[in-house]
Structures are given as C-alpha cells and as structure tokens.
Amino acid sequence: MSKKLVTVSVNGKKEEKAVEPRTLLIHFLREELNLTGAHIGCETSHCGACTVDIDGQSVKSCTHLAVQCDGSEVLTVEGLANKGVLHAVQEGFYKEHGLQCGFCTPGMLMRAYRFLQENPNPSEDEIRHGMAGNLCRCTGYQNIVKAVQYAAKKLQEPVAA
C-alpha cells in the first residue's frame, strides 16, 4: 500500500511526513512527532482523551486519519502554554483540582480551550453539555466544571497593561 505525503502544521510548526493511509492522527502525533500529550483511551471515539484541535474544531484524533489532515492546522495540548506560562484552562484545572489521575486531562484541556471560544461565558449546564464528549473516571466532573468556569472568568479579564 502506497504511503501518502502529509503536510500539516502542528502547534505552529510545519511537519511533512510520508504516512501509511491507515495511520490514525493520534498515532501520527504520538509516534511520528513524539507529541505524547494526547492520550489513547477507548480508541472508539467515546472517551475524548485524544481530543485535539483541527482547523479550529475539536476532533477525536483516534478516529481521524493523518492523511485527512493534509493542509490542516493541528493544535495539541503541548501547544497550549505560551513561553512557559500556562493557558487559562490549564491554570483552571490546576487551581480547581480538575484532575486526579490526569489521563483524561489533555483531552479535557483541548476541549475546554475550544469550547470557551465557541461559548466564552457559559452556564454550568452549557459547560456540562459542551464537555460531554470527554469522560473522566476520577473526579466526578464537579471540579472539571469549576476549572472551566475559572478559565472562562480568567479569559474575560481585561489584559493587564
């Protein structure tokens, strides 16, 4: 089976690789690019641990082929922090204890990052629906909701001069 050349921007860096068509995006990120932030959980698009951003949309990278990303911009959890400063969603999960084992956290962060752009000032109910594609088996979700609320508030603060 012939390999396909894929050109993709990952966290702002242009990557060009020849991949087997059957290579899933999650494996491309983890094994070709050594970006192991996105996790392999259920492998059947239920758990959301593999969630990344493709062209401004949250996608489960276990159910997306790397060849389908040719020409796309991908953002993973490794691209969230800026020069060592945590993104507001990362800070929120840290401050509000939005994780215990941390397995689901990369997917939670990437979904929260995108969700708060889709809905910058969400209600608790909207957060629960907006984050419904991500499963956590530890926290009971309460602190995840608080973490997203923290980030929503922080993102709306005026930037300090």
Binding site: K60, G130, G133
Partner: protein
C-alpha cells in the same frame, strides 16, 4: 487498534468519486465522517481495500433553499445542522434532534449523509428523514436519481443506496406554518445510541389531526414508519384515547434486538413511552 491496510483516494468532485467506485467495485468504501466506519475497521468488521474520502468535495457540503425545499449536502456535519439559520427557521426538528446525537467532537465530523447511508438502526437520521418526508439524491454511473426516505431503509446496514452510488443531497420540504414536531430519544448516557427513539411531525386543523408522521429509532432492524399509529390519529381529535391507540400500534411494530440497553420487553415498552411523549410534545407545539 489500527485499521487494516487500504489505499486512500481523495476525489475533488462527485463525478470522480463515482468513477472511483466504478473502477474499484465492492473493494471500496466511501469515507464520510468516519465515526462509524473507522471503528468498524479497527475491529475488523469492515476491511475495505480502498477508502474513498469524500470530505474534500465542496459540492457535498452546505445547506441551501431551493424554492420551498431545504437542500442539505450529504457531507454536512451534525454541528452545522444545529447552527443553520435555514434549518432553524424551516426544519427545526433537525436542529433539535442533532443535539441528541453523539457528542460535540463527534458532531464536528459525523455527517447527515453518513448517518443515513450507513443503515445502522441505531442512527437517528433515518427515522427523522422519514417523518420530515425527506428524499435523497443519489448519483451513480448513470446519473442522479431521487428516492424517498420512506422505503429507503431495508434492514440493518441495508438501504436502497447501491454500491456504485454516492449520496449527494437530502431534500426536505419546509415545514408548513404551525407544524408541531418532536424527537424523543431515551439513552443511557451522552453519545449512546437510543434505547428507543421516536420522531413525530404533526399538524392540526381545529382540534383534529390533519397530518401526522410517526417513525421509530433502534427498535427494529431498520428505522420504521408506523402507519398504523398515524392512522389512529389522522382526521381525529387529539385526545388520550387516540394517543394510546397510536402507542399500541407503535408497540406492535417493534422488533428490537436484546442488548446491553435492555431486553425486548423493556425496549418495546420504552418505544411506546417515547411515542407518547413525542406525540404530546409535538401536538403542544402545533399552531
């Protein structure tokens, strides 16, 4: 889990996709959103030699109006159904129901055409398509044909779509003013398929039912339109006795498979409950 090996094709037009299907025959599968097909390939339930990715065909995406008909490109994703001003105004049932399908990430990839063409009895658009009197535009080597949703679903993973055809459009008549609608879906959790689901479209004239469609999700080998339930209501007053007659007709049409969502008796009873709730909700929205 990694899918079996396949050759990848990414046509830019429907014509190219149809030509590829013709050349590659039954060794090829179309890749739409991939959220049914890729998991099936990982589990080796499907092992196509060739995948024809139709995500890069612009003409298959988008929602437009053609006179009194709403035309939905088959590769339009669920989230775009939810946010479409045209659908919100003309076929609001689809916006409301799409929110009950899968989860936000999956709705960014899952398409209405894929949901219909896959033929899975657990998918929601088959029953929805039936109650909104949708028709499907299919393109094959001999050109395009249009088939009604009612009658399209033959059984589990079996539809009228031929192996050499691409589903291009879903055409839906705009709701008449005052149309009531509802989709009731019992599910165990976000992202699950329905334990039982019921779609209803209804119109009234005075206190009588002047138009009604009832279809069920995931309680038979394919989505079913329950004409006997419609007959229990059409031309009659909408009251508890007639609703109950419709519920019983729907229960009689159920033929569910037992699985982790419940046994046959439970699923059948829940289908009846979904019919009752959907009818009452749809009627309350009639004007």
């Amino acid at each position: 889990m990694i899918p079996p090996r396949f050759e990848y094709h990414a046509p830019k037009t429907v014509g190219e996709a149809v030509a590829l299907l013709g050349q590659l025959g039954s060794d090829a599968k179309l890749l739409a959103g991939g959220h049914s097909l890729l998991p099936m390939m990982k589990l080796r339930f499907a092992q196509p030699e060739h995948l024809i990715d139709i995500n890069r065909i612009p003409e298959l995406k988008g929602i437009r109006e053609d006179g009194n008909t709403v035309v939905i490109g088959a590769m339009t994703v669920e989230n775009d159904l939810i946010t479409s001003p045209i659908l919100q105004a003309k076929v609001p049932l689809l916006c409301e129901a799409a929110k009950l399908i899968a989860d936000p990430q999956v709705r960014n990839r899952g398409t209405i055409g894929g949901d219909i063409a896959h033929g899975d009895p657990g998918n929601d658009h088959p029953a929805l398509s039936i109650v909104i009197d949708a028709s499907f535009v299919l393109e094959g080597p001999n050109g395009r044909r249009t088939v009604a949703a009612d009658g399209f679903f033959l059984g589990t993973y079996m539809t009228l779509l031929e192996e050499n055809e691409v589903m291009c459009e879903i055409r839906v008549p705009a709701f008449a003013a005052g149309t009531g609608y509802a989709y009731e879906k019992l599910k165990r959790k976000t992202g699950d398929w329905a334990t039982a689901g019921c779609a209803v479209v209804i119109r009234k004239s005075g206190d009588q039912v002047s138009h009604v469609r009832v279809a069920l999700t995931n309680v038979a080998p394919a989505a079913v339109r329950v004409e006997a339930a419609e007959a229990a209501l059409l031309g009659k007053p909408f009251n508890a006795a007639n609703v109950q007659a419709a519920v019983e007709a729907a229960i009689a049409a159920c033929d569910p498979a037992e699985d982790l969502r419940g046994d046959i008796e439970y699923k059948t009873a829940m289908a009846g409950e979904m019919v009752k709730r959907a009818l009452n909700k749809a009627w309350s929205r009639c004007a």
